[in-house]
């Protein structure tokens, strides 16, 4: 039985996750749509950029912009997948049955995704830094986040906890 109503935290978590997932879908779709538009309207974009930042008004900049859109779309898609797995776990908690092997697998996938996000963020940072620098000189931090790796470690450990929990529950289920 669902306990979203009796547990406000679960309800809030689910609502937030659904909201984020919707935002990620819109963002990814916008980036994917932007790529052909940027390439198709290269001339117009270059002309427009020339007014603001003449240094950036070239085809190379437009391609970098398209590359940035692809990288951001990949990043957002990975974040959507991560959020989806978290939502599935929240749903299983609300259903009163969180210690299942599926949740251990979900946590493991989330751990790998948090590592993958670190690597997907590199091209986003590179493209972003290059594009940003052409418009206005900026300092961009391209380092791998220690928090992201710590999150991956925590998720891997939680996945093991859930796998053991699922096994214990299975043993208990057949006990009379």
């Amino acid at each position: 039985m669902s306990s979203f109503r009796s547990d406000p935290l679960l309800g809030l978590a689910r609502a937030l996750l659904v909201f984020f997932m919707a935002v990620f879908i819109v963002a990814a779709a916008a980036c994917v749509i932007a790529v052909p538009v940027i390439l198709f309207m290269q001339g117009d974009i270059i002309a427009e950029i020339a007014k603001e930042a003449p240094k950036a008004a070239n085809a190379q900049f437009v391609w970098a912009l398209a590359g940035l859109m692809v990288a951001v779309a990949a990043l957002v898609a990975a974040m959507w997948f991560f959020t989806l797995k978290l939502k599935q776990i929240v749903d299983s908690v609300a259903a009163g049955d969180p210690f299942i092997p599926e949740n251990a697998e979900r946590l493991k996938v989330m751990a790998w995704m948090s590592i993958a996000l670190q690597f997907i963020a590199v091209p986003v940072g590179l493209f972003g830094a290059w594009v940003g620098d052409k418009v206005e000189p900026t300092d961009v931090d391209l380092s791998i986040s220690g928090n992201g790796l710590l999150l991956a470690l925590v998720l891997f450990i939680l996945a093991r906890v859930f796998r053991t929990g699922a096994q214990m529950r299975e043993d208990l289920e057949g006990t009379v």
Binding site: G174, T175, V176
Partner: protein, 73 residues
């Protein structure tokens, strides 16, 4: 499984129904039924103790062991 549960014979000998036993040992009918049909994976000492108390028997009267090869069809 080589462990068999002889609850049926004991209940028959004592003219007791499964429902009555479930009530007396404070277990659900579904769980007692799982035990009786040999589908249980494990039995708690407390459950075994309650069965032995109510049926006035020993654990060996409730559970039996047969080698895999010795099982008859």
């Amino acid at each position: 499984m080589p462990i068999n549960v002889k609850l049926d014979d004991l209940l028959h000998a004592r003219r007791m129904t499964l429902t009555e036993l479930a009530d007396r040992i404070d277990l659900t009918l579904a769980n007692v039924s799982i035990l009786k049909t040999g589908k249980a994976k494990a039995i708690r000492f407390s459950t075994l103790e309650a069965i032995c108390r109510e049926l006035d028997c020993q654990p060996g009267d409730v559970l039996g062991y047969e080698r895999d090869g010795a099982e008859s069809a």
